[in-house]
């Protein structure tokens, strides 16, 4: 029983990280149908910028705030110089642009920072909370709570504000949105900025658990992407549930089978879910009205 509980906690820890990364994907997807593969680099930047500003003598809370700000700027720059000039291109082209941007950001980080692994202190220390013979780190709880908080804020933003409604309008029909007077370029740009900020916050919060280096973004983006496919692309709640489930699959596979098969098991489960529910757990069914 203690083992089962420990596997669950382990799954929650990894899952919380995936969930927080996955949430960042949803907003840009909702606004522009683009899966932003540079999302992982936003996460990396959040962690790395905080760490290096910290090394430069800036107090960590301020460094974290600056890191989020800088990453937001990078997100805006990605939109302004990468996505906006190609706005008439298909979603696939835009996705390829984000892959290019991700490689570029990784290369820049390698040059500007360094190639080593770094860590940040956890918010509430490293003393594990022990429950029923198993233990969980306080930081895991922080990450999970943050993921849920971000989902709530996103939900409120999309559903309860005029600006959020404009995002929905832009996503469902850009031409019609323009016709009713929505500046769709500003909307999509804002979504890139917010996603970058969410990524950076994720980076600051998960670094005490996962550690970080210039190239952690790729793997995080991949796992986050798997999480949104499982949860249903475009749904923030789906991203969180998908991320946590993916983490749990991995932990139970590592615990009850073998660590060597954990990725394989996780992906087999995802495939099985997608066969039964191609739109993911929380995804909206695609309906083309003619």
């Amino acid at each position: 029983m203690a083992a089962f509980l420990q596997f669950t906690f382990s799954g929650l820890t990894v899952g919380a990280v995936y969930a927080l990364v996955a949430v960042g994907f949803t907003l840009i997807y909702n606004a522009s149908d683009v899966v932003n593969f540079a999302q992982g680099e936003f996460v990396m930047l959040g962690g790395m910028v905080t760490i290096f500003l910290g090394y430069a003598g800036i107090p960590l809370p301020l460094a974290a705030a600056l890191a989020v700000l800088i990453t937001t700027m990078v997100g805006l720059a990605l939109y302004r110089f990468g996505i906006a000039p190609a706005r008439d291109a298909s979603a696939v082209t835009l996705i390829i642009i984000t892959i290019g941007a991700s490689i570029f950001l990784r290369g820049m980080a390698e040059i500007i920072f360094d190639k080593r692994f770094h860590s940040l202190p956890a918010l509430f220390g490293n003393d594990p909370i022990r429950i029923g013979g198993a233990s969980i780190l306080p930081q895991t709880v922080v990450v999970l709570a943050s993921a849920l908080l971000i989902v709530c804020l996103l939900w409120a933003f999309i559903g309860r504000t005029l600006y959020g409604k404009a995002v929905v309008a832009t996503s469902s029909n850009r031409m019609a949105a323009t016709l009713v007077g929505i500046n769709t370029r500003t909307i999509v740009g804002t979504c890139f900025a917010i996603s970058a900020a969410i990524g950076a916050i994720a980076g600051v919060l998960v670094t005490p658990i996962t550690l970080t280096s210039y190239n952690v973004g790729t793997l995080l983006a991949l796992k986050g992407f798997a999480a949104i496919m499982l949860g249903g692309i475009g749904s923030a709640m789906g991203a969180v549930v998908g991320g946590v489930l993916l983490g749990l699959f991995e932990a139970f596979a590592a615990g009850y089978l073998s660590a060597s098969y954990k990725d394989a098991v996780a992906f087999v489960v995802i495939l099985a879910v997608l066969f039964a529910m191609p739109q993911g757990l929380f995804g909206k069914r695609m309906v083309e009205r003619v």
Partner: protein, 385 residues
């Protein structure tokens, strides 16, 4: 027509003089290193070390009156890329010798190229497969993973602990060290009661460690891996409150490991080269002047803390240079023979004495057993436990 011929002749003449000029003054030493990518924490200090010392050697007039020219390629940790660069070093750059091959994977991929070309190749990678079976043109400077296993097992026996659990990374380093530990365990009187693995990029190892905690009879845990994985193993180990002694490998012998693992690293033991504890060595230690010298130069020039990996590159280059001095030339056959005759070379990794059967030349005394305490290393004397 005549004009054309004249120009052609001129060009050929020019080309010939350029080649001849550089050949007389410079000898090319090749290096394929993983200066970027996942193994960059190994390759980066290696590259800096080689560049620093080649410059230094040239400033002092070179070797046998010839200046060295270092040709470095960065394979990014990719074995395929390493092999391509190795071929380029042989065919295009025509190097006299090669110091490099950061990881076991890249080294094994490059061995056939240098064996075919008959060019001395001093690898900086860990695994024992590089020099076993002995290959005519291949040498290496770092301690092997088998030595690390033996050193750890020695200490376990001194502490009267004989049943251990093993957790290893699924990368080349982890797999190779796991195999070596399993191979030497019976001879050392150690029983490996339980085995687990982790992926090199995993961020959570508590499920595996939970199983180790529950396994019957385990008295100590040995972790075989390098990079950030062992740091996470160490953190999770303390998180779960496992009480057995934890041993790490020489793969994490750097201050970076301590900073990543934080207070969880307290009490972790590992085998490592003398370089890590340079200033703590007794003055009577033969290696002390060498390691202190290297540490000072590396740390002043790069501003980074010294790691044993850069030390391996230093040893490789110095073994090569001393062999070239003894051979009196960079003729590949003579150079190879002299590298093999290296005797009592005091380096950062230990005292090297090679032979036709031993292209590493280190014994167990090259490893020091260290324990991490409050963010620093302390030496465990060989006689005490």
């Amino acid at each position: 027509m005549i004009q054309k011929i004249t120009i052609a002749t001129l060009l050929i003449g020019l080309a010939a003089s350029v080649t001849a000029g550089s050949a007389a003054a410079q000898v090319k030493v090749g290096a394929v290193l993983s200066a970027s990518g996942p193994a960059s924490f190994l390759g980066d200090p290696e590259r800096k070390t080689l560049e620093m010392y080649v410059e230094d050697i040239n400033r002092q007039g070179g070797v046998n009156g010839q200046k060295l020219q270092l040709v470095v390629y960065d394979d990014g940790g990719d074995a395929n890329a390493a092999r391509t660069f190795a071929t380029r070093l042989v065919e295009e750059d025509q190097v006299a010798a090669m110091v490099g091959g950061t990881t076991t994977g890249t080294t094994l991929a490059m061995i056939p190229v240098f064996e075919d070309a008959q060019i001395p190749f001093i690898s900086l990678a860990g695994a024992v497969q590089i020099i076993e079976p002995v290959r005519k043109w291949v040498f290496k400077t770092p301690h092997t993973d088998r030595m690390a296993c033996e050193k750890i097992f020695d200490d376990l026996k001194r502490r009267k602990l004989t049943t251990v659990a093993l957790i290893s990374g699924t990368d080349a380093f982890g797999k190779s060290m796991r195999d070596q530990c399993v191979a030497v365990a019976p001879k050392a009187g150690i029983t490996i009661a339980h085995e687990e693995t982790y992926g090199p990029a995993d961020s959570e190892m508590t499920p595996q460690l939970t199983k180790i905690k529950a396994a019957a009879g385990v008295q100590a845990v040995v972790c075989a891996g390098f990079g950030q994985g062992p740091a996470i193993v160490t953190r999770n180990y303390r998180q779960l409150g496992i009480e057995y002694p934890l041993y790490q490998s020489h793969g994490v012998a750097s201050k970076q490991f301590i900073s990543l693992a934080g207070t969880a690293a307290n009490g972790v033991r590992l085998p490592a080269a003398a370089l890590l504890v340079a200033s703590k060595l007794p003055d009577s230690d033969r290696q002390k002047p060498v390691v202190v010298g290297y540490q000072n130069i590396f740390e002043t020039k790069t501003g980074q803390p010294v790691s044993t990996f850069g030390g391996h590159a230093y040893d490789g280059l110095m073994i090569l240079v001393e062999a070239a001095k003894r051979a009196g030339s960079f003729d590949s056959g003579k150079l190879r023979d002299e590298i093999e005759r290296t005797k009592a070379y005091v380096g950062t990794g230990g005292v090297v004495t090679m032979s036709p059967n031993d292209h590493l030349g280190l014994d167990l005394s090259a490893f020091r057993l260290l324990e991490i305490k409050d963010g620093d290393w302390i030496m465990i004397p060989d006689s005490a436990s």
